[in-house]
Each structure stands twice: as C-alpha cells, then as structure tokens.
C-alpha cells in the first residue's frame, strides 16, 4: 500500500475515573489540540472526514456518535464511527486516503470505562445468549481460560508474570499522562488477589478513561501539513472463529495473520522492526503473543522474560497496555507511544528507532487482532 502520514497526535491523560469530564469534553480536548498543531479546519481543503472510535454499550447511548457531531466537526460534513478496536480506524483511514476519496482524515477515539458499573458486564454482552451468557462468560473469564492453558503448556509461572507487571508499571510511572499509576513489587503482584485464577488483580490493565486522536493524510498532503510526519506503511487485521470454537486457545491464528498481513503491506519483516508495542490487557498476554510470533517458544519463554528479552528486543518500552487504556483504544494509545519513540520524545526513549509495529486485540481470548507498521524518514 501507499504510505500515509500521521501529521499530528494527541491524547488526554488516562485515569481510572475522569469524573470531571463527559466523553464529549474528553474528545474535544484532543480535537482542539490536533487543530492547533496542524492549523487545519473542517473544510474541503482541510479535514474532509472524521472517523470516531467508541461503542454504544460503553457509552450507554444508541448511536453514541450523534452526541459527537459538533465536537468532531461534522456539522454538514462527514463523520463515521468505527465500533471496533481502535486501530481499525487507522485501517479504514488508509483505505479512504489510498482510494482517493479523501486526503485528510481525523481519527478520534474516546471511552470512559468508568461509566459502566463493571467492564466485565459490558464484555459479557459480546457472548451469545443461549450457551455462553448463562454460564457467565466475559472477556476476563475467557482470558483466564486462555491464561491457564498457557501456564499449563508453557514454561512460565507467577514470577515471570509478576516481573512483566513490575516492568510495565515502572516504565508507565514515568509518563505524567498516567497519574494513577504506581510502581509495584514482585511480591505485591503475587500477593494481589485472584480475579479469575490464574489472573490476579495486578495482572489486569487498570480501568481507564481517556481519549486519543490523530490527523492522517496522503503522502503529499502530509508533507504540506507538517515537516516530519510519521508514516503508516502497513495495516492489517484478522478475525478468528467464535470463542471457544477454536479449541487451542494458545495458538493465535488471527494474531499471526494480522501481523503478517501488516508486514506484507509494509513490505518488511518482523526482524527488521526496531520497536514493538503490544496491547497486553493481562500480564500473560505479552509472553503468549511473543511465543506466537516467534520471539521465543513455549520452552524458553521463562528465560526470555527473566533474562531481559523484553528490554533487549525493545518490546513494550512504554509499559504496554498494562499501564492503562480503555479496552477499545488499546491500539491507538500504543500508536501514540510508538510515535513518541520514533520522534525521540518518549519517557523511555531508546536510541534512534526508525520503525515500529503496534498490535491490538479485541474479543474473547484475542479473537480479533489488528496491527500497523509505522516508520519515519531518516
């Protein structure tokens, strides 16, 4: 595919309860910042289309984007809502821009997980009403079943999971936009109570409120809008069969397909990527993804984690999704962190990375996966 440029990015702080803002205000903070950064307006020579990301159940509103028309600059203009994992808004924007239908697209995702009594209650609604809801399934339970299979079959245990959480929080705590995040010790992780065994409270990503947005443009337009755009060179995704129709919960076909499609479109390989940002909603997911993508195998995953493989390979330098992000925005918040690394402005900056891959998942036991490859000019 032809690369498209990210001309601006913005995010609000990510907090466990942004009680002082409605979701519209949260999104407006991001939109205002994006407009200021780029000096664009909503016109045929400015932003031609807005793609929002949210979903009606978390928003508790049917067609929740109708509450956003003014905020998203769509008065007598175009707005469309991706009601799916947020990276898919970038995927969609790529198709719109590459087709020639629009040159400049704004993507804005927002979600207040705190609005729901429990996010598990929301994800419970993803299941069929006859066979899965009656036994209480939700994404957390599906994750626990997947985690148990992983612990049964892989050489990994409590210590490694705790180590992943400790590392994530230590890195995330450096980021002022995550004010509720505190560092923890291995002992605290192992002592935290089980939510659904083997998943402990500190293994799970924190309940999160926040908004995030980008201005995307064709190569030509992007260069006009800003001096140093970060390029989206590949996008891709894949659906897996409905949980738990695929009996092998730790063979993530959709993750492998999503990543390989993305790399193919970007005409690159996993080895040539400098930094990796995975959306790990629970501590076991990061090592599970790594075994599926060939960073390590089921036998040596423990030593990979214990011997600093994550730092060595530049995996989740930001701390990953364990530092917080609303469920449907995991991927977009990871894109922010990848852009910061590419621009040299990350709190956890490494030297001179040029390419990044961002992954996200949605659905029970990572049924749906999505990815983007980012790069910058030399």
């Amino acid at each position: 595919m032809e690369k498209i440029g990210i001309c601006a990015f913005s995010q609000t702080s990510v907090e466990s309860d942004k009680w002082y803002q409605r979701f519209q205000e949260m999104a407006f903070e991001v939109v205002k910042d994006l407009l200021e950064q780029t000096s664009l307006d909503f016109s045929d020579s400015g932003i031609e289309m807005t793609i929002s990301v949210s979903d009606d159940v978390f928003d508790a509103r049917t067609i929740s984007d109708n509450a956003m028309t003014d905020v998203l600059g769509a008065h007598y203009r175009c707005e469309e809502k991706v009601a799916q994992e947020g990276l898919q808004a970038i995927y969609y924007a790529c198709s719109v821009i590459n087709s020639g239908i629009a040159d400049v697209v704004m993507v804005v995702g927002h979600c207040k997980e705190s609005q729901a009594k429990s996010r598990n209650m929301v994800t419970h609604m993803a299941f069929d009403p006859f066979y899965a809801r009656p036994v209480g399934l939700d994404f957390q339970i599906a994750a626990a079943l997947q985690a148990q299979t992983f612990l049964d079959r892989a050489n990994i245990g409590e210590d490694e999971l705790a180590q992943i959480v400790v590392r994530a929080r230590e890195r995330g705590s450096k980021n002022v936009l995550y004010p509720n995040l505190t560092p923890v010790s291995v002992e605290e992780v192992i002592a935290s109570k089980y939510l659904a065994k083997p998943i402990r409270e500190l293994h799970a990503y924190p309940v999160s409120d926040g908004a995030v947005g980008f201005i995307l443009a064709s190569e030509k337009k992007a260069k006009e809008i800003c001096k140093d755009p970060v390029w989206v060179t590949g996008v891709g995704c894949s659906m897996d069969t409905y949980f738990p129709g695929n009996g092998d919960l730790i063979n993530l076909g959709s993750l492998k397909k999503a990543v390989s499609r993305t790399l193919d479109r970007a005409n690159t390989s996993l080895d040539s990527i400098d930094i990796y940002e995975f959306s790990d909603q629970y501590a076991y997911q990061l090592p599970l993804y790594l075994t599926n993508l060939g960073f390590c195998n089921l036998e040596d995953v423990s030593s990979f984690i214990k011997n600093g493989g994550l730092d060595e390979k530049n995996i989740n330098l930001s701390g990953g999704m364990l530092i917080g992000a609303p469920l449907i925005l995991g991927g977009l918040f990871r894109v922010v962190e990848a852009i910061k690394q590419l621009k040299g402005i990350s709190e956890n900056q490494i030297q001179d990375p040029k390419t990044a891959i961002v992954q996200s998942s949605m659905g029970p036991a990572a049924q749906f996966n999505s990815a983007v490859v980012l790069s910058r000019d030399n």
């Binding site: 009403p129 066979y131 899965a132 079943l145 148990q148 299979t149 089980y194 939510l195 065994k197 129709g245």
Partner: protein, 292 residues
C-alpha cells in the same frame, strides 16, 4: 472527590428476547427431555460442533441437518476459578468454570464444574454432565459437570510444593500376629523371631520382630502422606539401631532433606523411634514426587 460535578445515574434496562433458532431450540430441548447432547457435523471437514451450529464457518456450508449425539463425558481443556463477583455470574464466587470438550465432539464449550475441591482443580480431568431438573431454555439444562473419577484429586505434594523440613509420620504397635504373618510372607522362620524359648538364650533375651517390619512403616508415610499419593520410591537405605520387641509402638518419620533440581527428585531423611523415644533405625530415601 466529585466536587462540583453532577452524576446522572442511568441504567440500560431494555427488554430483550433472543431466539435460539430451530436448531438451537432442538439442542436445548433435547438436553431437557432426553438428557442427550447433540451436535452437528460438517461432512466436508468432519468437524463436530457442540453446541450445534447451522453453518460450518470453516467451509461455509449449511450443516444444520447433520445432527449427531455426542458423549455426556469429556475432558477439561482449561479452567478458571472465578474469584471476583459480578451480577452476571451464575454462582457466588469462588466457583469453577471449565472449557470442556466432550468425547465425539470437536469444539469445546464453557460450563460450570462442581464437586471439585477448589484448590485441587486442574486441567485434563474427565468430567460428566449432570442434567438439571428444572428446565431453563438455555445450556443450563445441563446443571453442571462433575468429575468422573475423584481419585485424581488425591495427589500428594509436587516437587514445587515440597519444602525442606516438611515432615510426616505413621505410628503402629507391632504385634505377634504381624511378625508371624511376615514370617509366612517371607519364609523367614528364624527361631529368634518365632521361638520364645530359643530366644531367651540369645542376645536380646526374647523374641524380636524382623528388622524390616518396623521399617516398612515408612511406606505409608512416603506413599500416602509425604510426598503422598503418586510418589514413586527410587531408593531406600536404612541402618538398624535397636531391636523391636512384640508390643512395641513404632513411629516412622520422613523429613524432606534435599531437593534434587535436575531430576525433580527429593531426598528424605528417615527415622524410626519406639514408645520410649529410642531410635530403632534411621536412613534416607530418594523419591520421585507426583507431577500434580
């Protein structure tokens, strides 16, 4: 905390009625009326879907008429112990949910598992469907699953669970009957064990038990207590210290002495004492603890 900020409480309490469809209804009714579990087979890829699906999404073929019965027993592929409370849970925590694949089916589903000690639950156990007496119009026409064989939970300590210093014992009084039975088993009718008049002239002054009779009391310790069920003994070495007379009460004690990491074996210190607290034998054993 919520200073100068309104909260409007809302609830999305809309009524919904979901239709399981003809096939789904047949599955649910068959559970209720016949206590049978049916699935559908895709004749192209041979996958048997349980609960039944109308379409094989791998081959995208209509398979709704290819019904077949599957077993009421199956294997737990994975499980979780749910520990936090949510309104949508079918039980009060803690409770167990298992990913269960029935025999003759290819796709697993999630259901409640009961009658298992929560801390003993593990993957790969065999379970059986227990049907509900009250119809539910859902998969809860199977009330829950139960283990087929309870003995799988009675396992001893695994290598990881054993810690140096852990100890267990067994105590028994050695009677004349024990000694005569052992003489019969082994063919060792040495007069020092079976002839009182002969023994009076010997160094112990009366009949004594065969040396291995009190020492055999270590078998129930290692095999049923520490490490416990599932243990395999590799090697036992003991030294005789004192005789055991008829009527003596002997305690066999095993203590974890060393963990042999490379083999995942454990070295146990053995000690046998009588009712006076005298050591009648000691030694050590190497055992392979159960895998869990």
């Amino acid at each position: 905390m919520y200073r100068n900020s309104f909260i409007v409480h809302g609830k999305l309490a809309l009524p919904y009625q979901y239709f399981a469809g003809r096939l789904g209804s047949k599955f649910i009714k068959t559970l209720e009326k016949e206590h049978k579990i049916i699935g559908t087979r895709c004749k192209k890829c041979n996958t048997v879907y349980v609960p039944p699906r109308s379409i094989c999404d791998r081959c995208f073929l209509d398979i709704k008429d290819n019904l077949e019965e599957v077993s009421k027993e199956g294997t737990v592929l994975s499980y979780t112990v749910v520990n936090s409370y949510e309104d949508h849970y079918p039980e009060r925590p803690p409770f167990i949910l298992g990913l269960i694949k029935l025999d003759k089916a290819d796709t697993p589903f999630v259901h409640i598992i009961k009658n298992v000690p929560i801390n003993k639950m593990k993957s790969n156990i065999r379970v059986r469907a227990i049907f509900s007496n009250t119809p539910t119009d859902t998969i809860l026409n199977i009330s829950h699953f139960e283990p087929v064989d309870y003995s799988v939970f009675e396992v001893g300590y695994t290598y990881e669970e054993l810690e140096i210093g852990m100890s267990a014992s067994f105590t028994k009084t050695i009677t004349e009957t024990d000694v005569y039975l052992f003489a019969g088993i082994s063919g060792d009718f040495n007069p020092m064990h079976v002839n009182e008049e002969y023994s009076k002239k010997g160094i112990f002054g009366k009949r004594v038990a065969h040396g291995v009779v009190p020492q055999s009391l270590i078998a129930p310790v290692l095999g049923t207590k520490l490490p416990g069920l599932g243990t395999v003994a590799i090697e036992i070495n003991t030294r005789f210290r004192r005789p055991t007379y008829f009527g003596d009460t002997i305690t066999a004690i095993a203590t974890v002495k060393e963990k042999i990491e490379e083999k995942k074996w454990v070295k146990m210190a053995l000690k046998f004492i009588n009712q006076k607290g005298e050591i009648i034998a000691d030694g050590e054993a190497i055992v392979m603890p159960p895998k869990g």
